[in-house]
Amino acid sequence: MSAFEILVWILRLAFLGLLYLFLAVLARGLLRDLRATTARTTRAPGMLVVMAAPPGVPAVGATMPLETITTLGRDADNVIVVDDQFASTHHARLTFRGRVWYLEDLGSTNGTRLNGRPVEGAVAVGFGDEIAVGETRFRLEPASA
């Protein structure tokens, strides 16, 4: 085999090798994604971050994991207890239906607001949206952390 033939062989194998290196790096990334997904689905699909709370409870910046049906209000039987004088006993409800979070007001005295607008009926909430119950404000975030 001449030197040139060896050179051509090296180049050909290098090209094929690099193609498979690309696929191998890709496959490793895909597997990592897959593991991350399975780990994530065991947790609730979202959380609330406290933006402002006049009574100081819960603390600003605190995060609260959500359940598929999460009720908010002053009563102790709510999933998230909002200790706010402007909050009703059973104030609002967050539900995860299909793929989307929805927010409903439960006939509270002072109303629930989504990004500053009063909530009527069930409205879809996107990640990053702000929910206000009384004077307490939350932001919906994906439960990634």
Partner: protein
């Protein structure tokens, strides 16, 4: 709802995409040196400006992705860049005179430069859609308008289309010629995603019992029959077996994704079987296709010539291939396999890169499938999920149909191999698919539509204004 503004754009590093693109570039440059060395007979890089332009274009789009900072998928783009690069290598290796086109001031362009132009346009389409599309209402709310546009396109091809190789596919507008069926695939997916997302619950829950069969309710059966009719019409009028097969397969796939009912798929397959027998009886083209699929060697120098030559090409390739540029030469411009740049590009790649290269190519399409279906699974609502699933099906089924056709696993149909086969319409169509997939992969940009608490009047008003909006309301 978060409104995007120029001030709100923050660059965001895309490490995985950078790594993968660097790897793809290294692979393609090595491939180019391998090709030039084989052709020159000594170590040479040849004239790499085509590949360099291509890689620079990919890098520019990557930088734009980073600067605009959207959290879109980081795997699809490098995979497409590698597929397109392999295509460019292969087109540069084929005789340049295979395709020539007068490009006015730029002079006469040959095969590889033409493919480069289309590849760069395709990558730009991906970049543009992935960066700019933040909202899907223009697709969601106007599904009947899209369907009407699609049918109009089909009728235009029926009436004014040019026949190339006995297939009526090409529509000519001035100097530009395109194959609208590439666009039609995407329009079909948009319409089906919209239709199925709206009627999903009804389709999945209700049923009509006829004997042992559990059929969907009659009113919802009609679109299925209409689809079947359109697929048959496409074959009869356009003699485009591939597009018809693809349309119907994508339709069945989406129907299953939306309803999870195997009875629908069984019914669809039954319809397809009846349609196939009918077409075999009336269409001589179909009879020829099936005959040369079953035994190409009976007509080895006639209608089976292409298949026989394709099989020989796979055989010559063996495990590791002959090497880029070392495949069977093409004396006086006639190719070893007819349509080597288009329908038989997979056979060509398999000859020069061998089974190893062919499997790598299949691997890249599998990656696209995984990413697309993953985007679908994470879609914010039914419409986005179905749209993503449909776009993925279009790309992957097309690749599977033509690769299997080249290998004589199924009768050969004239669909294109996405991002690899020569041809502008196909490259642009595939680019739109991947671009929309990337745009859909950025979850949480805009909250999905409100739930179905709207009254009928509100729902109709929500469909939009203007001519298209009035049309949508009229169709309802």
């Amino acid at each position: 709802m978060i409104r995007p503004s120029l001030a709100g754009i923050h660059p965001r590093p895309r490490g995985r995409e950078t790594t993968l693109l660097a790897l793809a570039a290294a692979a393609l440059l090595t491939g180019w040196v391998s090709l030039a060395t084989t052709q020159a007979g000594r170590l040479s890089a040849g004239d790499p400006h085509l590949l360099v332009i291509y890689l620079v274009a990919a890098a520019v789009i990557h930088v734009l992705f980073v600067v605009t900072g959207r959290r879109t998928d980081q795997v699809l783009f490098p995979a497409v860049v590698l597929l397109g690069g392999i295509s460019l290598l292969f087109m540069a290796r084929l005789p340049p005179s295979l395709v020539t086109q007068d490009a006015g001031p730029a002079g006469i362009l040959t095969l590889a430069p033409l493919q480069l132009v289309w590849l760069v346009l395709s990558l730009s389409t991906i970049g543009g859609l992935a960066i700019l599309v933040r909202n899907d209402t223009w697709l969601r709310n106007y599904k009947y308008s899209w369907a009407a546009a699609g049918v109009t396109l089909l009728v235009l091809v029926f009436l004014f289309g040019d026949e190339v190789n006995g297939v009526r596919l090409t529509l000519r507008v001035g100097p530009l010629a395109g194959q609208p069926s590439e666009l039609l695939k995407i329009i079909l997916v948009v319409f089906l995603a919209g239709y199925l997302a709206e009627n999903r619950a009804l389709l999945a829950a209700t049923s009509l019992r006829v004997g042992p069969l559990d059929l969907p309710p009659l009113a919802y059966l009609l679109p299925m029959l209409a689809m079947w009719g359109i697929a048959l019409a496409v074959v009869v009028v356009q003699r485009d077996l591939g597009a018809a097969l693809l349309f119907f397969a994508v339709f069945l796939g989406l129907l299953y994704v939306a309803t999870q009912r195997t009875s629908f798929v069984a019914l669809g397959l039954l319809l397809a079987a009846v349609g196939s027998v009918f077409l075999y009886a009336v269409e001589p083209t179909v009879q020829v296709r099936v005959a040369i699929w079953l035994d190409p060697f009976a007509q080895a120098l006639g209608s089976g010539f292409q298949i026989v030559r394709g099989l020989y090409a796979f055989g010559r390739g063996g495990l590791l291939g002959t090497g880029l540029g070392a495949g069977l030469p093409s004396p006086d411009g006639t190719l070893a396999v007819p349509a080597l740049a288009t329908d038989y590009v997979f056979a060509g790649v398999a000859e020069e890169l061998g089974a190893a290269g062919a499997i790598a190519l299949i691997g890249l399409y599998l990656v696209i499938a995984e990413r697309g279906l993953r985007i679908a699974a994470r879609g914010a609502d039914d419409f986005r999920a179905l749209l993503a699933a449909g776009l993925t099906l279009v790309l992957v089924l097309q690749a599977a149909l033509i690769m299997a056709g080249d290998l004589k696993l199924v009768p050969l149909t004239g669909v294109t191999l996405p991002f690899v086969a020569y041809g502008g319409s196909s490259l642009l169509g595939s680019g739109i698919c991947v671009g929309l997939l990337m745009a859909l992969s950025d979850a949480g940009v805009e909250a999905p539509a409100p739930p179905q608490a709207l009254t009928r009047g509100e729902r109709l008003r929500a469909r939009g204004r203007g001519v298209a909006g009035r049309f949508e309301r009229a169709v309802r």
